[in-house]
Subunit: 364 residues, 2 copies
């Protein structure tokens, strides 16, 4: 069954369509939105091979032409060099066409393609076709697009909403198991920040999810997307401290990614560790209800899913230094999303650096 969830942002509103084997109906939506007949599909070679053929056939039937631009399947693709190489190719193509962009892939492709769409000619339309669990429940929604600098993630970007998010769950069947694990890390985040029942569902059903049970995945995706769509509708540009809670686990998470050169830990793995760090900080500040048990539950769920609960092979100081480059580190002051209990957060500024260090040290 196909579900439609709306992100309500006035003129910039759009729909998130979620369903199993729905790619055949994509062209209909593109036509309805009036995006034109010339798609530039930004993807990586693996996804192109798996999802490319059915996408091409779905678009061709409706006379939508498409060209592929592939980028390496790595966080390193979110770079200035690759973004401008894509822009250059698009500008040549655009002399005779009025293209729109399809981001086909995971978070890297979505962030990169969205950024390219946001700056080329001051913005051309793009749609998100997320093919990973992480992208389907999180990164494809909300218009945060960007690329990385060597000193930190997503430091160059925009708030630029897609015209459509189209999540075909069947793509998840071919996903490497590690990618499912990373997606589940973000699903745990949604549980921890907003939905205790979802967290408990994950505790009970993580094996089904790892086994790619379609109903289970669909349930998780719908739950997470509903939370994200609502939050984005309330605080598109993160100016009201509402959207901020989606960064739970991401402050230290991004630092772990950066300290590992975006190779040692994937985004999902790093966010898992970052959530543990945030929970540890919450506990040391006496903010966390039933801290020992809560920390255990989070750790157990991460461990059961196959996500790391210890940071290995990274320098502690490097992690601490990396977090000072984060977008959430402002004017020498940090800002953390912390936990009261499962399903409830609060935001705190100016956490003493000693506290952060000792929280991270507990994970080393």
């Amino acid at each position: 069954m196909t579900k439609t969830i709306s992100v309500n942002l006035g003129k910039r509103s759009y729909q998130i369509i979620i369903g199993n084997k729905i790619t055949t109906s994509l062209a209909k939506h593109i036509k309805k939105l009036g995006l034109g007949n010339d798609a530039i599909i930004i993807t990586n070679p693996r996804v192109k091979k798996i999802a490319g053929p059915q996408l091409i056939s779905a678009l061709k039937k409706s006379n939508i032409s498409c060209v592929f631009q592939t980028v390496p399947d790595s966080e390193k693709s979110k770079s200035q060099g690759i973004a401008f190489r894509l822009i250059d190719k698009i500008s040549r193509y655009a002399r005779l066409k009025q293209p729109f962009i399809i981001a086909l892939g995971g978070g890297v492709v979505g962030d990169l393609a969205g950024f390219v769409a946001s700056v080329y000619k001051r913005g051309i339309p793009y749609i998100q076709l997320p093919t990973t669990l992480l992208a389907q429940i999180d990164s494809s929604i909300g218009g945060k697009v960007g690329i990385d600098l060597t000193c930190g993630k997503n430091l160059v970007g925009a708030f630029y909403q897609p015209r459509l998010v189209f999540s075909d769950i069947s793509f998840l069947q071919t996903l490497p198991k590690n990618e499912i694990r990373c997606g589940l890390a973000e699903a745990i985040k949604y549980g921890l920040i907003k939905d205790k029942a979802l967290f408990e569902y994950l505790e009970k059903n993580y094996q089904k999810a790892l086994g790619l049970d379609e109903n289970c995945l669909e349930y998780i995706i719908n739950k997470c997307v509903l939370i994200k769509a609502k939050i984005v509708g309330q605080d598109e540009k993160e100016t009201k401290s509402i959207r901020t809670i989606l960064n739970f686990g991401h402050t230290i998470g991004h630092a772990i990614e950066a300290a590992g050169g975006f190779k040692a830990y994937s985004h999902g793995q790093a966010v898992g560790l970052g959530m543990l760090a945030a929970a540890e900080i919450s506990s040391s500040l006496g903010l966390l209800y039933n801290p020992e048990k809560t920390l255990d539950r989070i750790k157990n769920l991460l461990r059961n899913i196959g996500l790391p609960v210890k940071i290995k092979g990274l320098n502690l100081e490097k992690i601490i230094k990396a977090h000072t480059f984060d977008k959430k580190f402002i004017q020498g002051r940090n800002r953390f999303v912390l936990m009261k209990q499962i399903g409830q957060t609060l935001i705190k500024q100016n956490i003493p650096s000693g506290l952060i260090t000792s929280a991270v040290r507990k994970l080393v």
Copy 2:
């Protein structure tokens, strides 16, 4: 006397403040807007030398710290390389500060600094302190920011409004005469598209303007800014064919700039020639009222001001090819702003390329 003109864009509204020797009052406005206490001033070495000292002293009195980042005084500074070099410097500075950006200079600095502000951390505040006539009457207003690709101008950018435009007319007293000429080219544009009386004023008073008569310059700036502010308020993102008319002369103008490698002709000179080309096309299509006399009036005014009315040393084919990379060249179709009479325009698509070529040929 200080004039304040508003750009009305809801939450993104801002004021344009125009006056003589008003820099001393800048800090007051920055404080009122709550932009913080740490300014990064992006400028070029010449402007830094002339305007830097009084700016520093005006800011320091109000405890606003400032650091300068200079870029070469050339269209070539609107490049990927320079933009990312600035972003890198800002990201290092921003670890301990929450900076806002001041664009101090002409159109190049304004476009570049605005672009950097628009993408760094998905957007930080910036203000425009235009120091050239062209920037004071045109480019500092309206939030069109961007950098160039080798194949065309402003192909990468955003609509990102400044928080304030602050035009101190006294800066124009130190401006090279050629820069005044280029500014007057854009002033002629405002006359041609919207304000016959302004065009006639320029015909009568161009010598005063070239002689840097303050009252005359202030009159011209106020007139142009009023037109631009109103148009931007009606059609911020150029989606309603209202803002489009500001591109009068810019389609061929940009092509002349690009064909000359952004060295042979300055923006103002190229726009002057582009307006002549657009008037020629309007005349060939039988759209222009009293074509011979109107063309003569435009040519005479450009000539009197000291702007070129002939294209020299450029390859005709190169100009024609360059215009197909323009943002206004969509899906193989061009779009031109043409003239009915002085003060009145219309937009036409699909102008036959033969007609464009012969219009440009008349200028060679």
